[in-house]
């Protein structure tokens, strides 16, 4: 409906069997988690810890200084 990017998923190809389709969805799921986890596992840049350290000093933070 309102998703313009939606492709025609099963155009001219014969539909894969249920098991095959499930296997593919699982593979996509694994890959998706891998993509997300890759970012989660990146080292956190120093400035992230700085903002909370600054918050510590002031008790409250809000962009002053």
């Amino acid at each position: 409906m309102n998703d313009p990017a939606r492709p025609e998923p099963f155009g001219a190809e014969p539909e894969p069997s249920i098991d095959e389709a499930r296997l593919r969805q699982q593979a996509i799921g694994v890959k998706l988690r891998q993509m997300f986890d890759e970012i989660v596992n990146e080292p956190v840049p120093e400035d992230f810890l700085d903002i909370l350290r600054r918050a510590d000093d002031k008790g409250s933070v809000g962009g002053q200084d």
């Binding site: 990017a5 939606r6 190809e13 996509i28 890959k31 998706l32 890759e38 989660v40 918050a55 409250s60």
Partner: protein, 197 residues
């Protein structure tokens, strides 16, 4: 209505410790929403400050990850409403970032997945990320997105179908690799990876 600092020192310490532990997840979620990696980090930092400032309204013992994701998402959409151009941007920017974030060493299948994710409508991408990668239940994802559980379910299932279709047909912009190639390498990778999990 502004409550400040009515947490005791021990609660503040605990809150901060939990918030720090969530930083990597917030960065990852921000990057899936946002234009580029730098903008995503800005967004994540804003959300962390907001969460910190709102710490006294957090119900201890409830799901802090869901709470901070909701703050980040609200922040993203309110900034966008204020200053960002239009919804078109979502799509284009996501595609660009996902490409820009490319690590030349990364396995091919991961590139394809990024490109394919970039082609999904934003609300589907977001639902799929929360449920498929963020580890949230449908109910939690619905709370985060401020919509009905059924809506999340249908977005996730449409996103899965669409991804499958995109990957199967190689319908993303990329030179060189023939249709079906992406799905094949994803299947091969999944097989390799699914053992230890």
């Amino acid at each position: 209505m502004v409550q400040r600092n009515n947490l005791d020192a021990a609660s503040e310490t605990a809150f901060k410790r939990d918030l720090v532990a969530l930083i990597p997840h917030l960065r990852a979620f921000a990057r899936t929403l946002c234009g580029d990696a730098a903008a995503a980090d800005d967004l994540a930092q804003d959300a962390i400050l907001k969460a910190w400032d709102a710490r006294s309204s957090f119900q201890m013992g409830t799901n802090m990850k869901a709470w901070t994701f909701m703050i980040l998402r609200n922040q993203f959409y309110s900034e966008k409403r204020r200053s960002w151009r239009q919804s078109q941007l979502d799509q284009e920017a996501a595609e660009r970032t996902l490409v820009a974030a490319d690590d030349p060493e990364a396995p091919v299948a991961l590139d394809e997945m990024r490109l394919a994710m970039g082609m999904l409508p934003p609300e589907q991408r977001e639902a799929l990320i929360l449920v498929g990668a963020g580890g949230f239940a449908y109910e939690e994802a619905a709370d985060i997105c401020g919509c009905a559980v059924g809506t999340v379910k249908s977005r996730v299932s449409r996103a899965r179908r669409a991804l499958h279709g995109i990957l199967e047909q190689g319908a993303y912009d990329r030179d060189g690799s023939p249709a079906g190639e992406a799905m094949r390498s994803i299947l091969a990778d999944a097989e390799r990876l699914s053992g230890p999990r």
